[in-house]
Symmetry: C2
Amino acid sequence: MDAKGTREHIVRAADELFYKQGFEHTSFADVAGAVGISRGNFYYHFKTKDDILAAVIAARIAERRRMLDQWEAEQDTPAGRIRRYINIVIANETDIEDYGCPVGTLTTELAKLGHGCMDSATAIFTLFRSWLGEQFTALGRADDADDLAMHVLAASQGIAVMSQAYHDREFTRREAAQLCAWVDAQAAKEE
Amino acid sequence: MDAKGTREHIVRAADELFYKQGFEHTSFADVAGAVGISRGNFYYHFKTKDDILAAVIAARIAERRRMLDQWEAEQDTPAGRIRRYINIVIANETDIEDYGCPVGTLTTELAKLGHGCMDSATAIFTLFRSWLGEQFTALGRADDADDLAMHVLAASQGIAVMSQAYHDREFTRREAAQLCAWVDAQAAKEE
DNA sequence: GTCTATATACCGATAGAC
DNA sequence: GTCTATCGGTATATAGAC
């Protein structure tokens, strides 16, 4: 296989394992096994484990950006787009119950490790934060758009944490519905 | 020193290190260094690392129970007690910015590790959940007391995650104040 | 570009002297 | 009850054959 293909394969496998097992708990042997290459071959593509993490974070940012573009095309209204974001916790219910939010759990882990990639991980949050802010601005809430965006982010993270702790789908759906209703109430304040 | 004293010293040091560095990232050498004993001496008091974790979780539960009792004595009204809980995110601002919520980050880590102590860690959440439920019941909301308790837990966890990501104290205070106002609004529905 | 073999370090855990 | 010394396993990372 060509270098680019193998590299991408490594990033994809590492992405999933970092999410499901955590960054530190995932060894090169784990990733190599998932990709189907030897441990030694690893270092042709990445010098260190931190380099793989950086590549994974970059890939996540690119993927989320594509996702946001798609949502913007699919949903006609700002409120609909925000609700689409909130519904991640239901669409990815099973994964979130088992492994939490990919963004939240990564920042939490990297913060404790004092890892240099912490800021890059936070940038994934910022991507959503800015996008949500734009939607609230379009909703006529330019003055406190960022505050409202942060509120949605925080509420979603809270749902993800409790979902992981209790595996209670009724809770998840109830909270998501409440948050969506809150969004619509914010839209009503527009006039 | 006597066995009990050393054991307690170990649990206290492990508690702090597990919180600040994470469970897996903390080695016996780290804890031994913090306590001031040799690595070998460890195994006189605990057979395995998992045993230390179990002891740390048990200690956290006992400590939180004492804390809830104290809040119940200090605060006269159910709403005041719930607000006291919410204000943890402000009282422990600095630690939460750096290391997140001790309960939320532990359950998140143990879930990813597939660790057997996951249920014990969730029990710390349940302690707060039940207590908050009692307060909402006293507030005249017996029918959905547990739902409301879960909402407060989720909101607090969300604040903690975003606080760790952005270190934004204005955000933390704003969200805490909003949640407190929400509690008071729930109380108003009592009649 | 991928492999095997290996260097080096640290991990959790054990054995035995004191 | 605490220590030193050490075992076996695994981690990241490297060297060199193919």
